[in-house]
């Protein structure tokens, strides 16, 4: 079955979701989800190894040859991300069971798992598809699942957040479709590879640029790039913790990948970056994101919201690398996609532990956490430090590549922007650390629930990962480099 891994890796989570809804058994759903997760990981790793050894894999859905049928194109870059997402989401799944029992009503748990797997399948579909419209379909699958996940929390404001995201997400998807439509009118094809070949000799420059703009804006809405980020904080704040961890660590990353794919593989480096305005816009928006979102984060009192704004800022880092657009910058972006995924998973899982044990949602409730729940406190501390980019954590690695990239381009402004935004991050993280370790708990403490082993274990594992990959970058950094070299900059180098 290994040669069918491209199809399986998308279909396994979805089959899992369908089975969960078909069986609807409260004890089996977690098991089914885990089995789907494990098998997805298995095939994603096989995919990655194949992509490494063979190069780009093209898989024709339905057996119809590519421009006619739908093609799945797996290269070293997206297979890497698929594996990452599969693994992270599996770990979160392991963690999910106890957390959900606390945070969700009993009868919604099956649905949650189902939605989770659907979202996962959708994201993997976006990553692996080589077809513009198929990407839209899977984008919508994952989005719809996301809306449901967000609306599931016990906080009634989750409904508003879900609605808000639904509106914005749909606008984004529609803009994306408009962009694809323009391309479709010009080229008559939807296969991304085919399009990129055909765009080479297109004289219709204006529709091309317009489609670029639409696709970029559409995806940017999904990414929550700074002026378009309004939905994200609420969505993250009011979703169930497991959902937040999953979304924060995967969803935006996939959208960013899609954007990168369009910029580098479809439109091509030359077209995109011959356009100075585009670079300027991307860079300045990224910088504004890094500053603005961090500034807002400093004044947040809701813990999840704070880290949500921090996510917006971190997304700024990733797009910054896209704007820097050289080898190191892109490596920085790619590495940060991976790293931020790990960091945010760790943080939100830790927050999930807090919610589980003592219903902590606000920052001031963190006071004296270091004494009450030392393990979780350490996890939050370490992963927050990683957000700042303290050396020895993954955050530093990304920052390093970004700094190098911008130095190569002579973008000193960007270098300083990076530095200053780190300071802003330092401010909000410092606040949290101080509260955790140096404050005494205020008022009567809720008697904490006993933490189940797997929750703690996964959280700790993620935290260790943030440190481990900050020290040993063979896995993340080198793979990212290879991906960038072989896939994105294939023609340029």
């Amino acid at each position: 079955m290994n040669e069918h891994a491209p199809a399986l890796v998308v279909m396994l989570p979805i089959i899992g979701a369908v089975l969960i809804m078909l069986i609807r058994h409260n004890n089996l759903n977690w098991g089914i989800a885990l089995i789907s997760g494990i098998s997805t990981i298995y095939y994603s790793i096989i995919l990655y190894l194949n992509a490494r050894s063979i190069g780009t894999i093209s898989y024709a859905m339905g057996g119809w040859e590519p421009p006619v049928g739908i093609e799945y194109r797996i290269d070293e870059f997206n297979s890497l991300l698929i594996a990452l997402i599969a693994i992270v989401s599996f770990l979160i799944l392991v963690y999910a069971r106890s957390s959900l029992n606390i945070e969700l009503k009993k009868n919604k748990i099956s649905t949650f798992y189902s939605m989770y797997l659907l979202c996962l399948g959708g994201l993997i579909g976006i990553l692996s598809t080589g077809d513009a419209f198929n990407a839209f379909v899977f984008l919508e699958i994952s989005s719809l699942a996301t809306y449901v996940i967000i609306s599931m929390g016990n906080d009634r404001r989750g409904l508003l957040a879900a609605y808000q995201y639904l509106i914005i997400g749909t606008i984004g998807a529609t803009l994306y479709v408009i962009g694809v439509g323009l391309i479709f009118i010009i080229t008559g094809s939807l296969n991304l590879y085919d399009i990129s070949v055909k765009l080479g000799d297109i004289e219709l420059y204006r529709p091309l640029l317009a489609s670029l703009a639409f696709i970029t804006v559409g995806i940017a809405l999904k990414i929550a790039l700074f002026p378009l980020h309004a939905w994200l904080p609420n969505a993250y704040a009011f979703a169930p913790s497991v959902g937040t961890a999953f979304l924060a660590s995967t969803a935006t990353k996939v959208a960013i990948y899609l954007l990168i794919k369009y910029l580098y593989l479809v439109y091509g480096f030359d077209l995109v970056y011959s356009n100075q305005i585009f670079i300027f816009v991307v860079l300045s928006l990224s910088i504004i994101a890094m500053f603005g979102a961090s500034m807002i984060a400093i004044f947040q009192s809701n813990l999840k919201k704070l880290f949500a704004y921090s996510s917006v800022a971190q997304i700024g880092y990733i797009t910054l690398g896209i704007g820097i657009a050289n080898y190191n910058g892109l490596t920085g972006s790619t590495v940060h996609i991976i790293n931020h995924s790990i960091i945010k998973a760790a943080i939100f899982l830790a927050i999930g532990c807090l919610v589980f044990s003592s219903k902590i949602v606000n920052i001031d409730q963190l006071a004296g956490l270091g004494k009450r729940m030392p393990v979780v406190a350490v996890c939050i501390t370490v992963s927050s430090l990683s957000l700042i980019g303290v050396p020895g954590t993954v955050g530093f690695i990304s920052k390093w590549y970004l700094v190098l990239g911008s130095l190569e381009q002579g973008l000193w402004v960007v270098v300083f922007a990076l530095a200053v935004s780190s300071i802003l991050a330092l401010i909000y993280v410092g606040r949290i650390i101080e509260l955790i370790w140096f404050h005494t708990p205020v008022g009567g403490m809720v008697s904490p629930n006993k933490m189940p082993f797997e929750m703690i274990a996964v959280t700790v594992l993620m935290t260790i990962a943030t440190v481990y990959f900050g020290i040993d970058t063979r896995l993340t950094g080198d793979l990212a480099k290879i991906a960038v070299e072989n896939v994105l900059l294939g023609e340029q180098l």
């Binding site: 079955m1 069918h4 199809a7 399986l8 279909m11 979805i14 089959i15 369908v18 089975l19 809804m21 078909l22 898989y59 024709a60 859905m61 339905g62 057996g63």
Partner: protein, 139 residues
């Protein structure tokens, strides 16, 4: 009361034709406009009409909700299993050539199968959604 009666009679007359039309659209998708999705929507519209006219209670008694709830994943399953069968025969996912000896024949079977899957899911979804909307009730 009188309006109700009029609507009820009309619905009784039209309902079978709506359902029949849905099946027609389903099975003639190969030759004319239509296919699983359209058929499913029309079928669901028929059920919805029934609900509107005869009330949610009677509708849920006559067309039990559970059935539709189970139809939702079932259709997806039909679709997926069709794809997996081709996988198991060594063909690519959703390659219907695998389903029969002659590719063209296989394609035909495959198309019918997945149209059926679409049909089932769409009916299930639309009716489930409508039931959920209507049965929610005001607080």
């Amino acid at each position: 009361m009188r309006l109700d009666l009029l609507l009820r009679i009309s619905s009784k007359i039209f309902l079978p034709f709506i359902i029949l039309f849905a099946f027609y659209v389903q099975f003639h998708g190969d030759f004319g406009p239509g296919g699983g999705f359209q058929a499913g929507v029309i079928f669901a519209a028929g059920i919805i009409l029934y609900t509107i006219i005869f009330g949610i209670k009677k509708a849920q008694k006559d067309f039990p909700e559970t059935i539709f709830n189970y139809m939702v994943p079932l259709g997806v399953l039909i679709f997926t299993v069709t794809g997996l069968i081709s996988l198991s025969k060594g063909f690519n996912f959703l390659d219907y050539d695998a389903l029969a000896h002659y590719p063209k024949h296989g394609q035909h079977i495959g198309i019918i199968a997945i149209e059926l899957g679409v049909f089932v899911t769409v009916i299930g979804s639309m009716v489930s959604i409508f039931y959920a909307f209507v049965a929610r009730g005001k607080k």
